[in-house]
Structure formats: C-alpha cells, structure tokens
C-alpha cells in the first residue's frame, strides 16, 4: 500500500473511532433523559408543585416544600460559595505567587476530591451538633463547601485564558490592578465564569448525601432557616427506596423536576450572557 493510501486509511479509521465514541457518550445521556421523562411525566401535575407530601396510602400530594427547600439551599449556597470561589480563583490567577498560592491550589484540589458525604459529616459535627438541630443553613453550608473548590479552579482556568495583552493595555492606561481585573479581565472571561458557576450549581443541586447529615428532611413547610428542611434529592432517595408504588412514582417526578430546574437555570444564564454581548 502506498504511503498516501495508508495515511488516508488511518484518517478514516480515526474519524470513525471518534464518531463511535461520541455516540457511546450520548447513549447514557439520552437514555437517562428518556427514562426520567417517560417515568416522571406521569406524576407531573399542578398538585406536585403546590401541595405537601401526603402520608402513605393517601393518593395525590406534591413536593412543594422540597422544591422550595432545594431552591432555598442552593441559593444560599451560591451566596456563600460563588463570591468566595470566584475571589479565590481570581487570587490564584491574577495575584497569587509563591508558596501561598501553591498551597491554596493544592488544598482546593484536595477539597474537590473529598467525597460529598464526608463534607456532610464535617458540617454535621461542626454545625449541627454545636447548634443542636438540623437546619437549612447547615445544608447550604455543606453545599457551599462542595461548590467553593469547583468554582475556584474553574475561575482560575477561565481567567488564565484572558490574554495578557489586555491586562497590559489596561495597566498602561494607568488602571490599578484591581480595576483591571474588575473591568477587563472579568468581562473578557464572563461566559466562562458563568458556565463554571452553573456547573457547580448543577452539581450541588443534586447532592443528597451531605444533606442527610445537615438539612435532614421535613414533611412540612419550614418556617425558619434554622430548622430541618426538605429537598428534592433527599425526597427522591427516600421515596425511590420505599416499597410503595405511588411514592416511587413521586420519586421519578421529583427527578424530572430536578433535571428541569437545573436545565432552566443554565439555559436562562446562557441567554442572559448572549443578550449582554
């Protein structure tokens, strides 16, 4: 075979392999979505969004408290975690030099690798046992601790992609370094920063294990943030392993709602980014 034919053949084989692998990646994603939608759709009605869970045997009921609970805790986790993560990432990318930055980067990588259940136990010991009760803020804190290293590292990566020539242009005009980061670097990296933050939000929105030790669960509405609070992942966990048919149905529907919530947030944020440009 001529050298040229062999190169063409290798080209086609590699292209084919890449195509097959892409298809393999899509199989679990598509089949997961298909399954969640087909099973979950049956229980999707207005009641699911407006009513509290009903006791076993009583038909109907919804998960309004769990939806609000998840939204509450994820929002609180964002308020705690995003600023810390973004500023830490900014420090690593823009200002961090020497051993301190190295340590922060290393610790952040270690923290990313800590199983979320361990984070739950940690917050349980530090907050729940100290305060004497499970609470929404303990849950939010656990989620924030999971978010921070993720946001830190993606922020650092995204800011590093901003060309240095833009920083120098700003500095050469007499801007301070803080001003340069705030006005030029963040703006240039905004799409990446938002994507990174959303990935972190999506990740913690589905966390179950850390919430079991911190927010616990609640069959009713929560009245303050210092009491146990319901959340979709914990409800999915409890209902899916229950022996009751209608609870299992509710779990599928809850899974569908959770997926939709994450999806809507990321679509909305992407639209917001593209409108601003």
């Amino acid at each position: 075979m001529s050298r040229f034919r062999r190169r063409k053949l290798v080209n086609y084989v590699m292209l084919g392999l890449a195509g097959v692998c892409t298809a393999i990646v899509l199989v679990p994603l598509v089949s997961l979505l298909a399954l969640v939608i087909s099973r979950g759709l049956a229980g999707l009605n207005l009641e699911f969004f407006t009513q509290l869970p009903k006791p076993v045997g009583e038909p109907g009921g919804g998960m309004a408290n769990a939806i609000v609970g998840t939204l509450t805790m994820v929002t609180m986790a964002c308020i705690l975690g995003l600023p810390v993560g973004i500023l830490a990432g900014t420090y690593l990318s823009e200002f961090g030099r020497g051993p301190l930055a190295g340590t922060v980067r290393f610790m952040s990588d270690v923290l990313t690798g800590v199983p979320s259940i361990v984070v739950g136990i940690f917050v349980n010991v530090v907050v729940v046992i100290r305060t004497g009760h499970f609470s929404a803020y303990a849950g939010a804190l656990a989620l924030a601790i999971i978010m921070i290293p993720l946001v830190t590292r993606t922020t650092e990566e995204m800011l590093r992609m901003v060309p240095n020539s833009l920083r120098e242009a700003s500095l050469a005009l007499g801007a301070t370094r803080a001003r340069t980061v705030g006005s030029i670097v963040y703006r240039s990296a905004s799409a990446g920063l938002i994507t990174g933050s959303l990935l972190a939000v999506a990740r913690v929105a589905g966390e179950t294990a850390p919430l079991l030790f911190t927010a616990l669960n609640n069959r009713f509405w929560h009245h303050t943030l210092s009491e146990p609070i319901a959340s979709l992942p914990v409800y999915i966990y409890r209902y899916a392993i229950s022996p009751y048919k209608d609870w299992q149905q509710q779990a599928w529907t809850a899974a569908l709602v959770l997926v939709l919530m994450v999806l809507t947030t990321s679509v909305a944020a992407r639209i917001a980014v593209s409108l601003r440009k």
Binding site: P163, S170, L171, L173, G174
Partner: protein
C-alpha cells in the same frame, strides 16, 4: 539634539533572573520628538521600552538598576506612583489589543478610570480622541458596536485613540504597525508624525524605512546595549560604528 530633554536614562541594567537583558543603557530622549529604537530581535528594544512605564514590574524575577528620569524625576524612586506614571507614559502594543467592548467604551475607559463621569464630557473626549487618531469618520456611526469588529488597522488606531484619551505626555510604541498591511501602516505613520506636535514618542521598529521616515533620532540596540545613538539622518547616512552600518544595510540581523 539640542532640544529639551524629556527622558534621561543613565546606567540602566536589567536582569531576567541571571540573564542580563539590558547593559548600561544611556540615552536622552528629546521632548516632542520621535525617537526610534532599531536592532535585531531579542536585542532588548522592547524590554527597554517597557522599563519606561514600568510594565516590566509585573514579570517575575526582573531586577533593574540605574536611573530613568522623567522630567528630572526618578521613575524608579520611592516617591513615584506607578499608576500615575503610566497615565503620563502610555503605550501602544505590537498587536492591536482593543478591549472586548464597544468602540465608545474602549476610548472612554481611560477617562473613566481616572474619574471622569459626566456623559457630555466623555462624549467630547471620545470624539476628540478618535479624531486625533484619524478614526472618527470611519467609526462615528458605530460607536456602540464592538471594537472587535474593526479591521486590524482600525483596531490599532482605536488603541491609539484610547491612549490619547488619558492625555499622556509620552507615547511608547512597540512595533505598532508590524501586524498591519502597508496601507494601514501608512495611516499609522502619518498619525505618528502628527502626534509629534504634542507628544514625546519612542517607537520600536523592525522596519528600517519606517525609522528613517518618521523619526528624528535613532538608537541602534545590539545584545542589550545601545551601540549608537544619533540624529536619524546621521545613523542612516554616515554611521560611526561598523555594526550599525552592517545592520542598516541588511548585512545581519
């Protein structure tokens, strides 16, 4: 070379770690004149240029000794505020680097960071700077459009307008037309000559004709040293040093 001195550099040495990039550089830059720096790649021209607004400060492991006097004041002295220095000594880079925002916001960025808030005042500054940079007629209808949509030559003139908006005293230019086509280069050169009326300009260039065309005096750099510094006419017609002659006649470099 009997004009007033704007920048006086004496005994300047710069090290990147253990590598010496500038050796005992001495030069006097005249006010409201164009000084060209020529020399082969890697000879320290750009490094030298960046010592004049202390942009090298940001690079790890850079050590500088010697004196750089701007209007008689040592810019590496304790009393010098780097931010204020860079407002007085602005820079145009080799590759056009407009900010990813509108044409208007690019030019207004400088005045805004220095405290101009009033819309009408900003409008004035933006128009004047764009006119001075010979760009106004081309962009006046698309001030709100992204600067990234301009051509390379327009982007470079925008960068110059952005700089003029902060009213610097000295303009450093690092091969400002090396990434541009001949017509854009011509525009930039015309512009540089006009700017000379009001600004002190130091320009690094690899283009001998450009140095000969625009500059009043020329310094030839080699291996981090200034080999020869004189009126441009003298450098290009009767250089004293053999190495200068070899370089400008294209025998090396």
């Amino acid at each position: 070379m009997d004009q007033e001195i704007k920048i006086e550099v004496d005994n300047l040495n710069l090290y990147y770690g253990s590598l010496q990039a500038l050796k005992d550089v001495r030069i006097q830059v005249s006010r409201k004149a164009i000084t060209a720096l020529i020399g082969p790649s890697g000879c320290g021209k750009t490094t030298f240029l960046r010592t004049l607004n202390r942009l090298n400060d940001l690079i790890d492991g850079v050590q500088i000794s010697g004196q750089v006097l701007l209007d008689g004041e040592d810019i590496y002295g304790n009393g010098m505020d780097v931010v204020r220095l860079r407002k007085r000594v602005g820079m145009v880079f080799q590759k056009p680097n407009p900010f990813p925002m509108s044409v208007y916001d690019n030019v207004a960025y400088g005045p805004r960071i220095h405290g101009t808030r009033k819309r009408s005042r900003l409008d004035e500054i933006v128009e004047k700077s764009l006119r001075d940079a010979a760009l106004w007629d081309e962009v006046k209808d698309r001030l709100k459009g992204s600067a990234m949509g301009l051509s390379g030559g327009q982007q470079q003139r925008l960068c110059i307008a952005r700089l003029l908006a902060v009213e610097p005293e000295v303009i450093l230019m690092d091969e400002p037309s090396s990434a541009l086509d001949p017509i854009s280069t011509l525009h930039i050169e015309e512009l540089i000559r006009e700017l000379k009326e009001r600004y002190t300009i130091v320009i690094v260039t690899h283009n001998m004709q450009q140095a000969a065309r625009v500059s009043d005096s020329t310094a030839f750099f080699l291996n981090g040293q200034i080999i020869e510094y004189d009126a441009t006419e003298v450098i290009f017609t009767r250089p004293r040093d053999q190495r200068t002659e070899d370089y400008i006649t294209g025998r090396f470099g």
